[in-house]
Protein backbone atom coordinates (compact mmCIF):
# COMPACT_ATOMS: atom_id res chain seq x y z
CA UNK A 1 0.00 0.00 0.00
CA UNK A 2 1.48 3.29 -1.04
CA UNK A 3 2.09 5.19 2.19
CA UNK A 4 2.46 8.44 0.32
CA UNK A 5 -1.16 8.29 -0.59
CA UNK A 6 -2.38 8.31 2.96
CA UNK A 7 -3.12 12.00 3.12
CA UNK A 8 -5.84 12.34 0.47
CA UNK A 9 -9.49 12.11 1.33
CA UNK A 10 -12.64 11.80 -0.72
CA UNK A 11 -15.50 12.83 1.41
CA UNK A 12 -15.27 10.67 4.49
CA UNK A 13 -13.26 8.16 2.49
CA UNK A 14 -9.52 8.27 2.52
CA UNK A 15 -7.44 7.09 -0.40
CA UNK A 16 -5.55 4.09 0.92
CA UNK A 17 -4.21 2.61 -2.25
CA UNK A 18 -3.21 4.29 -5.48
CA UNK A 19 -0.69 4.26 -8.25
CA UNK A 20 2.70 5.26 -6.82
CA UNK A 21 4.24 8.55 -7.98
CA UNK A 22 7.24 6.81 -9.44
CA UNK A 23 4.92 5.37 -12.07
CA UNK A 24 3.50 7.72 -14.66
CA UNK A 25 0.21 7.35 -16.53
CA UNK A 26 1.42 5.01 -19.25
CA UNK A 27 -0.25 1.64 -19.26
CA UNK A 28 1.98 -1.41 -18.84
CA UNK A 29 2.46 -3.49 -21.97
CA UNK A 30 2.34 -6.76 -20.05
CA UNK A 31 -0.25 -9.44 -20.74
CA UNK A 32 -3.26 -9.81 -18.46
CA UNK A 33 -2.28 -11.27 -15.10
CA UNK A 34 1.47 -10.92 -15.63
CA UNK A 35 3.41 -10.55 -12.41
CA UNK A 36 5.90 -8.16 -13.95
CA UNK A 37 3.23 -5.54 -13.38
CA UNK A 38 2.92 -6.27 -9.69
CA UNK A 39 6.69 -6.30 -9.23
CA UNK A 40 7.09 -3.06 -11.15
CA UNK A 41 4.55 -1.42 -8.92
CA UNK A 42 6.16 -2.72 -5.73
CA UNK A 43 9.51 -1.31 -6.81
CA UNK A 44 7.89 2.02 -7.57
CA UNK A 45 6.19 2.03 -4.18
CA UNK A 46 9.47 1.28 -2.46
CA UNK A 47 11.15 4.14 -4.30
CA UNK A 48 8.31 6.46 -3.30
CA UNK A 49 8.49 5.42 0.29
CA UNK A 50 12.26 5.71 0.52
CA UNK A 51 12.09 9.10 -1.18
CA UNK A 52 14.72 8.22 -3.77
CA UNK A 53 12.89 8.88 -7.02
CA UNK A 54 15.24 11.75 -7.84
CA UNK A 55 18.42 9.76 -7.28
CA UNK A 56 17.51 6.36 -8.61
CA UNK A 57 18.66 4.99 -11.94
CA UNK A 58 16.99 1.83 -13.15
CA UNK A 59 18.30 -0.57 -15.75
CA UNK A 60 15.71 -2.46 -17.75
CA UNK A 61 16.34 -5.72 -19.55
CA UNK A 62 15.59 -6.86 -23.04
CA UNK A 63 12.57 -8.98 -22.22
CA UNK A 64 8.97 -8.19 -21.46
CA UNK A 65 10.15 -5.34 -19.24
CA UNK A 66 12.05 -3.60 -21.99
CA UNK A 67 9.50 -0.78 -21.94
CA UNK A 68 10.11 0.01 -18.28
CA UNK A 69 11.38 3.44 -19.23
CA UNK A 70 7.92 4.25 -20.48
CA UNK A 71 6.16 3.93 -17.18
CA UNK A 72 8.80 4.47 -14.51
CA UNK A 73 9.26 8.14 -13.87
CA UNK A 74 12.94 7.78 -13.06
CA UNK A 75 16.06 7.77 -15.21
CA UNK A 76 16.36 4.43 -16.96
CA UNK A 77 19.14 2.76 -18.90
CA UNK A 78 18.18 0.07 -21.38
CA UNK A 79 21.18 -2.28 -21.90
CA UNK A 80 21.74 -5.20 -24.20
CA UNK A 81 20.17 -8.55 -23.37
CA UNK A 82 21.98 -10.11 -20.43
CA UNK A 83 24.24 -7.18 -19.63
CA UNK A 84 22.09 -5.50 -17.04
CA UNK A 85 24.25 -6.38 -14.04
CA UNK A 86 27.39 -5.12 -15.79
CA UNK A 87 25.70 -1.95 -16.97
CA UNK A 88 24.36 -1.29 -13.48
CA UNK A 89 27.89 -1.87 -12.19
CA UNK A 90 29.25 0.72 -14.61
CA UNK A 91 26.65 3.29 -13.65
CA UNK A 92 27.08 2.73 -9.93
CA UNK A 93 30.88 2.83 -10.11
CA UNK A 94 30.71 6.07 -12.05
CA UNK A 95 28.17 7.63 -9.72
CA UNK A 96 28.23 5.92 -6.32
CA UNK A 97 25.83 8.55 -5.01
CA UNK A 98 22.99 7.20 -7.14
CA UNK A 99 20.78 4.28 -6.19
CA UNK A 100 21.05 1.84 -9.06
CA UNK A 101 18.92 -1.18 -9.62
CA UNK A 102 19.11 -3.98 -12.16
CA UNK A 103 15.86 -5.54 -13.33
CA UNK A 104 16.38 -8.81 -15.17
CA UNK A 105 14.38 -11.70 -16.54
CA UNK A 106 15.57 -15.24 -16.10
CA UNK A 107 16.79 -15.43 -19.67
CA UNK A 108 18.67 -12.24 -19.07
CA UNK A 109 20.05 -12.93 -15.60
CA UNK A 110 20.43 -16.70 -15.65
CA UNK A 111 21.20 -17.56 -19.25
CA UNK A 112 22.94 -15.11 -21.53
CA UNK A 113 23.97 -12.91 -18.63
CA UNK A 114 25.14 -15.49 -16.10
CA UNK A 115 28.71 -14.32 -16.35
CA UNK A 116 27.89 -10.69 -15.68
CA UNK A 117 25.39 -11.63 -12.99
CA UNK A 118 27.76 -13.93 -11.13
CA UNK A 119 30.67 -11.53 -11.19
CA UNK A 120 28.64 -8.53 -10.08
CA UNK A 121 27.54 -10.72 -7.18
CA UNK A 122 31.03 -11.94 -6.45
CA UNK A 123 32.45 -8.45 -6.45
CA UNK A 124 29.69 -7.43 -4.07
CA UNK A 125 28.75 -4.52 -6.31
CA UNK A 126 26.67 -2.08 -4.33
CA UNK A 127 23.57 -2.50 -6.49
CA UNK A 128 20.11 -3.99 -6.07
CA UNK A 129 19.13 -6.73 -8.48
CA UNK A 130 15.60 -7.88 -9.20
CA UNK A 131 15.57 -11.23 -10.92
CA UNK A 132 12.21 -12.15 -12.41
CA UNK A 133 12.02 -15.89 -12.75
CA UNK A 134 9.01 -16.85 -14.85
CA UNK A 135 10.60 -20.15 -15.91
CA UNK A 136 10.86 -19.15 -19.55
CA UNK A 137 11.50 -16.44 -22.09
CA UNK A 138 8.36 -14.35 -22.13
CA UNK A 139 9.12 -11.77 -24.73
CA UNK A 140 10.38 -14.00 -27.51
CA UNK A 141 7.44 -16.33 -27.37
CA UNK A 142 7.91 -18.77 -24.53
CA UNK A 143 11.19 -20.58 -25.05
CA UNK A 144 12.88 -22.74 -22.44
CA UNK A 145 15.04 -20.92 -19.90
CA UNK A 146 17.68 -22.40 -17.60
CA UNK A 147 15.01 -22.01 -14.92
CA UNK A 148 12.36 -24.04 -16.77
CA UNK A 149 11.06 -26.92 -14.66
CA UNK A 150 11.65 -30.53 -15.59
CA UNK A 151 8.79 -31.70 -17.75
CA UNK A 152 7.66 -28.17 -18.58
CA UNK A 153 6.65 -27.70 -22.19
CA UNK A 154 7.93 -24.63 -23.93
CA UNK A 155 8.33 -23.80 -27.58
CA UNK A 156 11.90 -25.12 -27.50
CA UNK A 157 11.15 -28.07 -25.24
CA UNK A 158 7.97 -29.19 -26.97
CA UNK A 159 8.13 -32.61 -25.32
CA UNK A 160 8.81 -31.06 -21.92
CA UNK A 161 12.25 -30.28 -20.51
CA UNK A 162 14.33 -33.34 -19.84
CA UNK A 163 17.35 -33.23 -17.56
CA UNK A 164 19.27 -35.52 -19.86
CA UNK A 165 19.14 -33.18 -22.84
CA UNK A 166 18.81 -29.77 -21.28
CA UNK A 167 19.94 -30.01 -17.69
CA UNK A 168 18.24 -28.89 -14.52
CA UNK A 169 16.28 -25.87 -13.34
CA UNK A 170 19.06 -23.47 -12.48
CA UNK A 171 19.08 -22.27 -8.91
CA UNK A 172 20.81 -18.98 -9.38
CA UNK A 173 20.05 -17.66 -5.93
CA UNK A 174 21.40 -20.69 -4.16
CA UNK A 175 24.38 -20.76 -6.48
CA UNK A 176 25.29 -17.13 -5.94
CA UNK A 177 24.79 -17.50 -2.21
CA UNK A 178 27.91 -19.69 -2.24
CA UNK A 179 29.95 -16.62 -3.14
CA UNK A 180 31.32 -14.27 -0.52
CA UNK A 181 30.25 -11.14 -2.35
CA UNK A 182 26.49 -10.88 -1.85
CA UNK A 183 24.97 -9.27 1.22
CA UNK A 184 21.38 -10.26 0.81
CA UNK A 185 19.73 -12.90 -1.33
CA UNK A 186 16.09 -13.79 -1.05
CA UNK A 187 13.39 -15.46 -3.10
CA UNK A 188 9.91 -13.93 -3.17
CA UNK A 189 6.56 -14.39 -4.86
CA UNK A 190 3.65 -12.06 -5.55
CA UNK A 191 0.70 -14.36 -6.09
CA UNK A 192 -1.22 -13.26 -3.01
CA UNK A 193 -1.48 -10.34 -0.66
CA UNK A 194 0.73 -11.85 2.01
CA UNK A 195 3.53 -12.66 -0.44
CA UNK A 196 3.14 -9.25 -2.01
CA UNK A 197 3.63 -7.53 1.32
CA UNK A 198 6.68 -9.67 2.07
CA UNK A 199 8.13 -9.02 -1.34
CA UNK A 200 7.78 -5.31 -0.90
CA UNK A 201 9.52 -5.43 2.46
CA UNK A 202 12.36 -7.32 0.82
CA UNK A 203 12.64 -4.72 -1.93
CA UNK A 204 12.84 -1.94 0.59
CA UNK A 205 15.42 -3.78 2.62
CA UNK A 206 17.57 -4.31 -0.44
CA UNK A 207 17.38 -0.66 -1.42
CA UNK A 208 18.25 0.34 2.12
CA UNK A 209 21.29 -1.92 2.08
CA UNK A 210 22.48 -0.15 -1.03
CA UNK A 211 21.88 3.25 0.50
CA UNK A 212 23.92 2.11 3.51
CA UNK A 213 26.74 0.98 1.21
CA UNK A 214 26.35 -2.62 2.27
CA UNK A 215 26.80 -4.16 -1.14
CA UNK A 216 25.05 -6.56 -3.42
CA UNK A 217 21.43 -7.64 -2.96
CA UNK A 218 19.49 -10.05 -5.10
CA UNK A 219 15.75 -10.55 -4.98
CA UNK A 220 14.48 -13.41 -7.07
CA UNK A 221 10.77 -13.30 -7.84
CA UNK A 222 8.80 -16.32 -8.89
CA UNK A 223 6.70 -14.69 -11.53
CA UNK A 224 3.71 -15.84 -13.56
CA UNK A 225 3.61 -15.77 -17.34
CA UNK A 226 0.01 -16.84 -17.94
CA UNK A 227 0.16 -16.41 -21.69
CA UNK A 228 3.15 -18.66 -22.29
CA UNK A 229 2.17 -21.09 -19.58
CA UNK A 230 -1.14 -21.49 -21.42
CA UNK A 231 -3.07 -20.76 -18.23
CA UNK A 232 -5.43 -18.14 -17.02
CA UNK A 233 -3.98 -15.78 -14.43
CA UNK A 234 -5.50 -17.56 -11.46
CA UNK A 235 -4.20 -20.94 -12.64
CA UNK A 236 -0.79 -19.40 -13.16
CA UNK A 237 -0.76 -18.20 -9.56
CA UNK A 238 -1.72 -21.67 -8.53
CA UNK A 239 1.13 -23.17 -10.54
CA UNK A 240 3.64 -21.08 -8.67
CA UNK A 241 2.29 -22.16 -5.32
CA UNK A 242 1.98 -25.80 -6.28
CA UNK A 243 4.87 -26.47 -8.63
CA UNK A 244 7.37 -23.68 -8.94
CA UNK A 245 7.85 -23.17 -5.22
CA UNK A 246 8.63 -26.83 -4.89
CA UNK A 247 11.73 -26.35 -6.98
CA UNK A 248 12.51 -22.82 -5.89
CA UNK A 249 11.55 -22.47 -2.23
CA UNK A 250 10.65 -19.01 -1.00
CA UNK A 251 12.49 -17.13 1.69
CA UNK A 252 15.78 -15.51 2.57
CA UNK A 253 18.83 -17.42 1.44
CA UNK A 254 21.52 -15.27 2.92
CA UNK A 255 21.70 -12.03 4.80
CA UNK A 256 25.09 -10.81 5.85
CA UNK A 257 26.08 -7.50 7.23
Amino acid sequence: MSEKAVAENTGKMKKVFDKPETLNDQQFSYCPGCHHGVINRLIAEAIDELGIQDTTVGTAPVGCSVFMYKWFDIDVIQPAHGRVSAVATGAKRARPDLTVFAYQGDGDFASIGTNNSAHAANRGENITTFFINNTLYGMTGGEMAPTTLIGQKTTTSPQGRTAKDFGYPMKMSEMLAELDGPTYITRQAVYDVKRIDQAKAAIKKAFRFQMEDKGYSLIEFLSACPINWGMDPAEANERIREEVEEVYPLGDIIERS
Binding site: S29, Y30, C31, P32, C64, V66, M139, I227
Partner: protein, 188 residues
Protein backbone atom coordinates in the same frame (compact mmCIF):
# COMPACT_ATOMS: atom_id res chain seq x y z
CA UNK B 1 -6.78 -11.79 -61.53
CA UNK B 2 -3.37 -10.28 -61.26
CA UNK B 3 -2.79 -10.08 -57.57
CA UNK B 4 -5.27 -9.94 -54.72
CA UNK B 5 -4.15 -8.93 -51.26
CA UNK B 6 -5.96 -9.18 -47.97
CA UNK B 7 -5.06 -7.78 -44.61
CA UNK B 8 -6.66 -9.58 -41.69
CA UNK B 9 -6.51 -7.72 -38.42
CA UNK B 10 -7.87 -8.01 -34.91
CA UNK B 11 -6.97 -8.65 -31.29
CA UNK B 12 -4.61 -11.46 -30.45
CA UNK B 13 -6.80 -14.53 -29.98
CA UNK B 14 -9.30 -13.66 -32.68
CA UNK B 15 -7.75 -16.10 -35.10
CA UNK B 16 -6.24 -13.53 -37.39
CA UNK B 17 -3.05 -15.43 -38.17
CA UNK B 18 -4.85 -18.65 -39.03
CA UNK B 19 -7.30 -16.87 -41.30
CA UNK B 20 -4.48 -15.50 -43.40
CA UNK B 21 -2.75 -18.85 -43.55
CA UNK B 22 -5.90 -20.49 -44.81
CA UNK B 23 -6.24 -17.95 -47.60
CA UNK B 24 -2.64 -18.63 -48.63
CA UNK B 25 -2.96 -22.37 -48.28
CA UNK B 26 -6.12 -22.41 -50.32
CA UNK B 27 -4.57 -20.25 -53.00
CA UNK B 28 -1.64 -22.61 -53.19
CA UNK B 29 -3.94 -25.59 -53.60
CA UNK B 30 -5.67 -23.71 -56.38
CA UNK B 31 -2.36 -23.38 -58.18
CA UNK B 32 -1.79 -19.73 -57.48
CA UNK B 33 1.30 -17.95 -56.30
CA UNK B 34 0.84 -16.99 -52.67
CA UNK B 35 2.57 -15.21 -49.84
CA UNK B 36 1.59 -14.78 -46.24
CA UNK B 37 3.24 -12.30 -43.93
CA UNK B 38 2.38 -11.77 -40.28
CA UNK B 39 3.03 -8.82 -38.09
CA UNK B 40 5.16 -10.25 -35.34
CA UNK B 41 6.79 -9.63 -32.05
CA UNK B 42 5.79 -8.01 -28.80
CA UNK B 43 3.53 -5.41 -30.30
CA UNK B 44 1.07 -8.28 -30.67
CA UNK B 45 0.86 -8.47 -26.90
CA UNK B 46 -2.43 -6.91 -25.92
CA UNK B 47 -2.54 -4.97 -29.14
CA UNK B 48 -3.67 -5.77 -32.62
CA UNK B 49 -2.35 -8.68 -34.59
CA UNK B 50 -2.48 -8.62 -38.32
CA UNK B 51 -1.26 -10.48 -41.35
CA UNK B 52 -1.27 -10.10 -45.07
CA UNK B 53 -2.15 -12.82 -47.54
CA UNK B 54 -1.61 -12.39 -51.26
CA UNK B 55 -2.87 -14.67 -53.99
CA UNK B 56 -1.74 -14.08 -57.51
CA UNK B 57 -1.45 -15.60 -60.93
CA UNK B 58 2.12 -14.28 -61.30
CA UNK B 59 5.23 -14.29 -59.21
CA UNK B 60 4.65 -12.02 -56.23
CA UNK B 61 7.10 -9.20 -55.72
CA UNK B 62 6.63 -7.48 -52.41
CA UNK B 63 4.66 -9.44 -49.80
CA UNK B 64 4.16 -6.16 -47.97
CA UNK B 65 1.04 -4.34 -48.95
CA UNK B 66 0.32 -0.75 -48.22
CA UNK B 67 -2.97 -0.66 -50.13
CA UNK B 68 -4.70 -4.01 -49.80
CA UNK B 69 -7.40 -5.25 -52.11
CA UNK B 70 -9.40 -6.24 -49.09
CA UNK B 71 -9.50 -6.01 -45.31
CA UNK B 72 -11.01 -8.27 -42.70
CA UNK B 73 -11.25 -6.20 -39.52
CA UNK B 74 -12.21 -7.88 -36.28
CA UNK B 75 -12.15 -4.82 -34.09
CA UNK B 76 -12.23 -1.05 -34.09
CA UNK B 77 -8.46 -0.40 -33.85
CA UNK B 78 -7.99 -2.60 -36.91
CA UNK B 79 -10.49 -0.69 -38.92
CA UNK B 80 -8.93 2.58 -37.79
CA UNK B 81 -5.48 1.44 -38.79
CA UNK B 82 -6.15 -0.19 -42.12
CA UNK B 83 -9.62 0.93 -43.24
CA UNK B 84 -8.46 4.03 -45.03
CA UNK B 85 -5.68 2.17 -46.85
CA UNK B 86 -7.95 -0.24 -48.71
CA UNK B 87 -7.85 0.26 -52.49
CA UNK B 88 -10.62 2.15 -54.18
CA UNK B 89 -13.49 -0.25 -54.83
CA UNK B 90 -11.82 -2.60 -52.40
CA UNK B 91 -13.58 -4.87 -49.95
CA UNK B 92 -13.91 -4.47 -46.19
CA UNK B 93 -15.37 -7.30 -44.13
CA UNK B 94 -15.89 -6.02 -40.64
CA UNK B 95 -16.99 -7.44 -37.35
CA UNK B 96 -20.12 -5.52 -36.57
CA UNK B 97 -20.40 -7.29 -33.21
CA UNK B 98 -17.52 -5.14 -31.95
CA UNK B 99 -17.49 -2.22 -34.35
CA UNK B 100 -20.34 0.24 -34.07
CA UNK B 101 -18.96 3.17 -35.93
CA UNK B 102 -18.31 1.86 -39.40
CA UNK B 103 -17.05 5.03 -41.00
CA UNK B 104 -15.14 3.86 -44.06
CA UNK B 105 -14.49 5.23 -47.48
CA UNK B 106 -17.62 5.39 -49.60
CA UNK B 107 -15.91 3.77 -52.49
CA UNK B 108 -15.36 0.58 -50.52
CA UNK B 109 -17.56 -2.43 -50.62
CA UNK B 110 -18.29 -2.84 -46.92
CA UNK B 111 -19.68 -6.06 -45.52
CA UNK B 112 -20.50 -5.80 -41.82
CA UNK B 113 -20.99 -9.19 -40.22
CA UNK B 114 -21.99 -9.83 -36.60
CA UNK B 115 -19.40 -12.61 -36.35
CA UNK B 116 -19.50 -12.90 -32.57
CA UNK B 117 -23.23 -13.44 -32.61
CA UNK B 118 -23.07 -15.89 -35.46
CA UNK B 119 -20.31 -17.80 -33.71
CA UNK B 120 -22.31 -17.82 -30.51
CA UNK B 121 -25.09 -19.35 -32.49
CA UNK B 122 -22.66 -22.10 -33.48
CA UNK B 123 -21.73 -22.54 -29.87
CA UNK B 124 -18.04 -21.65 -30.28
CA UNK B 125 -16.58 -18.16 -30.03
CA UNK B 126 -13.31 -19.41 -31.53
CA UNK B 127 -14.77 -19.64 -35.03
CA UNK B 128 -15.50 -15.95 -35.53
CA UNK B 129 -12.58 -15.89 -37.94
CA UNK B 130 -14.08 -18.54 -40.20
CA UNK B 131 -17.37 -16.75 -40.18
CA UNK B 132 -15.61 -13.67 -41.45
CA UNK B 133 -13.62 -15.67 -43.97
CA UNK B 134 -16.83 -17.19 -45.32
CA UNK B 135 -18.15 -13.70 -45.78
CA UNK B 136 -14.94 -12.63 -47.49
CA UNK B 137 -15.24 -15.56 -49.89
CA UNK B 138 -18.67 -14.54 -50.95
CA UNK B 139 -17.93 -10.85 -51.19
CA UNK B 140 -14.54 -11.06 -52.87
CA UNK B 141 -15.25 -13.99 -55.11
CA UNK B 142 -11.53 -14.79 -55.18
CA UNK B 143 -11.60 -18.18 -53.54
CA UNK B 144 -14.69 -20.35 -53.59
CA UNK B 145 -16.31 -21.61 -50.45
CA UNK B 146 -15.48 -25.18 -51.33
CA UNK B 147 -11.83 -24.31 -52.03
CA UNK B 148 -11.57 -22.54 -48.69
CA UNK B 149 -13.15 -25.49 -46.95
CA UNK B 150 -10.48 -27.70 -48.41
CA UNK B 151 -7.70 -25.25 -47.57
CA UNK B 152 -8.98 -24.91 -44.03
CA UNK B 153 -9.20 -28.66 -43.65
CA UNK B 154 -5.62 -29.17 -44.82
CA UNK B 155 -4.34 -26.39 -42.62
CA UNK B 156 -6.01 -27.69 -39.50
CA UNK B 157 -5.04 -31.27 -40.18
CA UNK B 158 -1.42 -30.36 -40.62
CA UNK B 159 -1.34 -28.70 -37.24
CA UNK B 160 -3.06 -31.62 -35.57
CA UNK B 161 -6.41 -29.92 -35.17
CA UNK B 162 -8.50 -32.11 -37.40
CA UNK B 163 -11.25 -32.35 -34.82
CA UNK B 164 -12.13 -28.70 -35.34
CA UNK B 165 -12.68 -29.07 -39.07
CA UNK B 166 -16.37 -29.64 -38.86
CA UNK B 167 -17.30 -26.68 -36.74
CA UNK B 168 -15.10 -24.44 -38.86
CA UNK B 169 -16.79 -25.65 -42.02
CA UNK B 170 -20.07 -24.68 -40.49
CA UNK B 171 -18.73 -21.29 -39.66
CA UNK B 172 -17.44 -20.73 -43.18
CA UNK B 173 -20.85 -21.60 -44.52
CA UNK B 174 -22.72 -19.35 -42.14
CA UNK B 175 -20.43 -16.47 -42.91
CA UNK B 176 -20.88 -17.05 -46.60
CA UNK B 177 -24.64 -17.03 -46.23
CA UNK B 178 -24.68 -14.00 -44.00
CA UNK B 179 -22.59 -12.09 -46.54
CA UNK B 180 -25.04 -13.02 -49.26
CA UNK B 181 -27.79 -11.37 -47.30
CA UNK B 182 -25.59 -8.50 -46.39
CA UNK B 183 -24.63 -7.76 -50.00
CA UNK B 184 -28.27 -8.07 -50.88
CA UNK B 185 -29.07 -5.59 -48.17
CA UNK B 186 -26.44 -3.16 -49.27
CA UNK B 187 -27.62 -3.25 -52.84
CA UNK B 188 -31.22 -2.64 -51.90
Amino acid sequence: MDQYSTIISGFGGQGVILTGKIIARTGMEEGMEVTWLPSYGPEMRGGTANCTAIISSDLIGSPVVTEPSSLIAFNKPSLDKFGSRVQEDGLIVLNSSLIDDCSTAESNNVIPLPVNEIAKGLGNQKVINMVALGGWSKASGKLSLSALKKGMKLTLEESGKAKFVEINEKALEEGYEAAKEESLASTT
